[in-house]
Amino acid sequence: MKFILILWFCKLLAMLVNLIDRRRGTNYSGQMALRLMPGFVKGFKGIDFDKVVFITGTNGKSTTTNMVRNTLVSAGRTVACNVEGANMMAGVATVLIKNSTLGGRLNKEFLVLEVDERSLPGIRKVLPGCRMGITNLEKDQDQRNGDPDLIYSKFEAAIGPDMTLYLNNEEPRSSALAEKAGRAVWFSVAENARRFAWHDDYALTLPCPRCSHPIRFSRYNLAGIGPFRCTHCSHASQPEPQVRLTEVDFEAGTFRCGERQYKVSYTDPFYLYNFALVLAVGKDLGLTDEELDAAFRGFVNPVSHDQVYHWRGKEIRYLQGKQENPEALQSELDVIARDPRRKAVAVGMYKVTDFEPHYAGSFYFFDCDFAAIAQGNVAACVAFTETICYDLAARMIYAGVPEDRVTALDTEEPGPVLELLEKTDAPVLYILTNTKHFRQINDYILSHGGTRDE
């Protein structure tokens, strides 16, 4: 009875919050429910755990979760999902509050949930879903996570023999989790024109998650992702993954999986792995190639933040990356490096002030390869944001950008950064920041005569 009363109260609360401030609507009612009843999530009925799909991993969780949801909905299924990315226990509780009857019964066929890596063991304990897609497991937020093995051990604790895992065949850490699950479905991307290569002499790989000996890659599709094998034990990419994307044509936006060619709107290399994971989940849930193809053609990523502006005769390409996350940052750097045009580049990464102690650590720049930018057609590089700018500028010089083309601006004001970029002879300006500062820069450009492509 207590559960029902809290559910009703929180349903009402969810409606009110949505009216007042939609941004808090993804989390608040769930937070309140958990405060009143810590085991609240366990109270829901009618959940088919075989139709609960968790999506987790270091990078690409939100995009992939959106894709899986979109694919199932496009195929006529009903889905409850935390599409806005509230991926801890309160977010999950909120999804259930909003997608249940007054009696606490889930009123959708599928439950697709993006799950924060650290929250996974706790969520799986109260919601023992049987399917989980892991995008990858890489270095991320070292200040909190320490080393990737700490997250790996959280995954190990959450995975049981009742689970089917959808695993990246070219990512050594997460793929090692197969031995903990009842079943593994592997997704993979074949060699393609946008393979990643280290440009400096200090490249490194990682220790095998099973035996701690070095992993070797035969090539890279992304930094840290490619066909691999351990130098000591049997851990290696599977020779025949169930889902394999081949014949990737970046210009046409197509790839092949099995007999079918798929047409997509997003072709950056990291998107390929997202599509591959969705194909693995979708095919395993019984969707047809036609249903998957139709879903992919119509997919628009609501969490994509990359923008194109036109400002004072120049094109601005604004990329939003995650800081303290080398692989995500590397993907954005690769986008810049692939553009052959003459360009000026501004990168702004920030102090961490989300939680105590606030933190100015910036070592993750050296986990990335900036050399591809240095070797590109770069007129100027600007490192900005308070405190961090000098470390970032030093990183650019270490990567080989000539010292006279590097400027450190100890400010978070967009004005000085854009004024400096404007003075260069480059027709294309790249700005890369974390997602939190998008609004500030976007507003500056638009209020100073710029226009944005929709």
Partner: protein, 240 residues
């Protein structure tokens, strides 16, 4: 000496926190001081370490669970490693890798990893990670280091490298890192030698002096001792 040869120990295993930048920074410092820089990767556990060729060994941070494997892998070469340190060879261990030079590492699961015991140091894995900025004053020469730390274990030592001016250091007691002869352990990330080029320069200069057979004179050693005792005296005085 016209060349600095850096032994980069197990780069694919000790691969965390961007510290590969410290290898670049040391090479860059050597070149700026007119030396040729050579980086030798000791990549696999069965690689023989060419102690005779290496001017310094650089151990960078790695996952805590790899330390037991590294310790075992080094066992066949332990006697030579000990000799290298006792002979004044330079070893810099940044972050978790420094723990294998201590006496033991106590893991949360109750297991113990026995270290080399070259540093009087014990480490106890923490329940949660402590990440923060770090500002340190070195005991030997009052040089300051700045950077950050990602502390996976609390460390107790009788031979600290320096004291914290800001940050947790070994375990929040003011001590940071450890040092025995030229074996240096620090928690300071940055990359260490990128953010603290003066420390890199000092290290390379000392290697050159050592190569030339130059040691501090007695007067210099007396001056150092005088500095230490005078500082203790100053700190004990009441502020005017």
């Amino acid at each position: 000496m016209n060349k600095l040869t850096i032994g980069w120990m197990y780069p694919d295993i000790l691969n965390l926190h961007g510290e590969r930048g410290s290898v670049q920074a040391l090479a860059r410092t050597a070149e700026r001081l007119g030396l040729e820089a050579q980086v030798v990767r000791v990549a696999d556990f069965d690689d023989e370490i060419p102690f005779d060729r290496l001017d310094l060994l650089l151990f960078l941070p790695g996952e805590l669970k790899t330390l037991a494997v590294i310790r075992e892998a080094l066992r066949p070469q332990e006697a030579r490693l000990r000799q290298y340190v006792e002979d004044g060879g330079t070893v810099v261990a940044i972050g978790t890798s420094g723990l294998i030079f201590g006496r033991e590492i106590l893991r949360l699961d109750g297991s113990k990893v026995e270290g080399f015991g070259l540093l009087d140091l014990t480490a106890k894995e923490r329940e949660y990670v402590w990440g923060d900025d770090l500002h340190v004053c070195l005991r030997e020469n009052r040089q300051e280091l700045i950077g950050s730390q990602v502390q996976m274990a609390d460390v107790e030592t009788s031979m600290p490298l320096g004291r914290t001016l800001y940050g947790r250091g070994n375990k929040g007691d003011g001590a940071e890192g450890a040092r025995y002869r030229n074996l240096i352990y620090t928690n300071c990330l940055g990359p260490l030698f990128v953010k603290n080029p003066w420390f890199a320069e000092e290290l390379v200069k000392n290697l050159v002096l050592r190569h030339l057979g130059l040691k501090p004179g007695t007067a210099d050693e007396l001056a150092q001792a005088s500095f230490d005792t005078t500082l203790r005296f100053l700190n004990s005085k009441k502020k005017p």
